[in-house]
Amino acid sequence: MRLTLRVWRQKNADADGAMSTYEVDGISRDMSFLEMLDTLNEELILKGEDPVAFDHDCREGICGACSLVINGDAHGPERTTTCQLHMRSFRDGDTIDIEPWRASAFPVVKDLVVDRSAFDRIIQAGGYITAPTGAAPEAHAAPVPKPDADLAFEHAECIGCGACVAACPNGAAMLFTSAKVNHLNVLPQGAPERETRVLDMVGQMDEEGFGGCTLAGECATACPKGIPLMSITSMNKEWLRATRKAGRR
């Protein structure tokens, strides 16, 4: 396959960026999207040019590091992570636009790499349970009804890649935050911090400069792990409940 790539190049956080055009040839349909970029980078290095910087790690769709907006879609045309997207989803001679996640809470570090530490701070605000450390507890000590376990797992699938923020017309982090809140709030282990968790995480989300939710639904469409839009509804419900309870104290 022969492709024309229009890639966002930006030297550093302060520099102005622009789309640069590159031609790549000899791309196999079975390559992953990142392998195609590796091919481009090898050519750039041989020519003595600066390779395109992009985030990647596990390359098996479970770590949440890869983060490219391909032709306007977060993670590209298939519902998967960029690393699991294959070149067979494109046609010979295609022109492909590759851009970083766009959100003011995710500033560009270089080229296609953005700083997603805002997500880490949202997790630090309440995306955990306070439990004594030590030996692993008996797995059956806290019984979890099967439907609750399934619901928690559905939310726990979130890998924190940030595609929801990238796809959202408001740069909102509601789907990410709701996945993390619901994951722990439906489990007995998360119950003691049920109210503070949602209040603190939503508070941190707002502080980071993410936008608000307008229920456009683009986050859930982009999510490679299929976190449902209703996750946001559940978080809103949790937030209202926690606000009412906090008001009574």
Binding site: L199, D206, T214, L215, T221, M230, N236, W239, L240
Partner: protein, 235 residues
């Protein structure tokens, strides 16, 4: 010496709600729902025009005497007006502040972004602005009579309405606004349910249907009046 054990002093309920994006959306959902209830009543009241001048003019008079003898003349009406003004101001202020925040949160556009959102979703902001401007014109036209095209007569809505819809611009402005309202309600009602946490997977289809049907009924009910005047059914 007593130690300060409470370290979790949280701001007041009103502060928490107003300072949070989720809270402001709650304000929008509740105020929107109040306005929607009013619109349903307003639309049903409007349809009385099809039953002749006595019926709708009597209805206009009744609106001012409702609640008597407990309420004085026009008190109930003014109470409703105050609630509506509060709802409109709360709705518009939250929308403005949230929109500013949303635009700041997403300053750079993608090179080729396909709009994956529905028309109703994309037009919420401009639709809201159109509705706000329409309300101002609508009150100046048919409540105060300031910009009324004919000889405005208080408590004679039958003739006043015919005068307004006998002008081309009266019809255009009204119908455009009512169609905008239909789209606004279509996305707004369903969204409000999500914001208030009453949506769920099993209820989603029902909620969407209710929002669509209500949007359609409201639009049809309101548009019926200018169409009635234009076609000569009401004259």
């Amino acid at each position: 010496m007593a130690l300060a054990t409470r370290t979790d002093r949280r701001p007041s309920l009103a502060r928490t709600v107003w300072d949070s994006t989720v809270g402001k959306k709650t304000v929008m959902a509740v105020s929107g729902f109040v306005m929607l209830l009013y619109l349903v009543a307003h639309m049903i009241g409007n349809l009385k025009i099809f039953f002749g001048p006595e019926e709708i003019n009597h209805y206009a008079h009744w609106l001012r005497t409702v609640g008597e003898p407990f309420m004085h003349y026009e008190w109930t009406l003014w109470l409703i007006r105050v609630v509506l003004v509060v709802a409109v101001v709360a709705h518009a202020t939250s929308a403005y502040q949230l929109s500013r925040r949303d635009i700041r949160a997403r300053p750079t556009k993608y090179a080729n972004r396909k709009a994956g959102r529905s028309f109703a979703t994309r037009t919420m902001r401009w639709g809201g602005v159109i509705l706000g401007l329409f309300i101002v014109w609508h009150i100046l036209d048919l409540t105060t009579g300031t910009v009324h095209p004919g000889g405005y007569e208080h408590l004679h809505p039958y003739q006043n309405i015919i005068d307004t819809f006998s002008t081309w611009y009266g019809n255009v402005v009204y119908i455009v606004a009512v169609v905008a309202l239909g789209f606004h309600v279509r996305h707004g009602l369903w969204s409000a349910a999500q914001t208030l946490g009453v949506g769920s997977r099993s209820r989603d289809r029902a909620l969407k249907t209710v929002a669509n049907v209500l949007a359609l009924l409201l639009t049809a009910g309101f548009v019926a009046v200018p169409v009635g005047v234009m076609t000569g059914v009401v004259s």
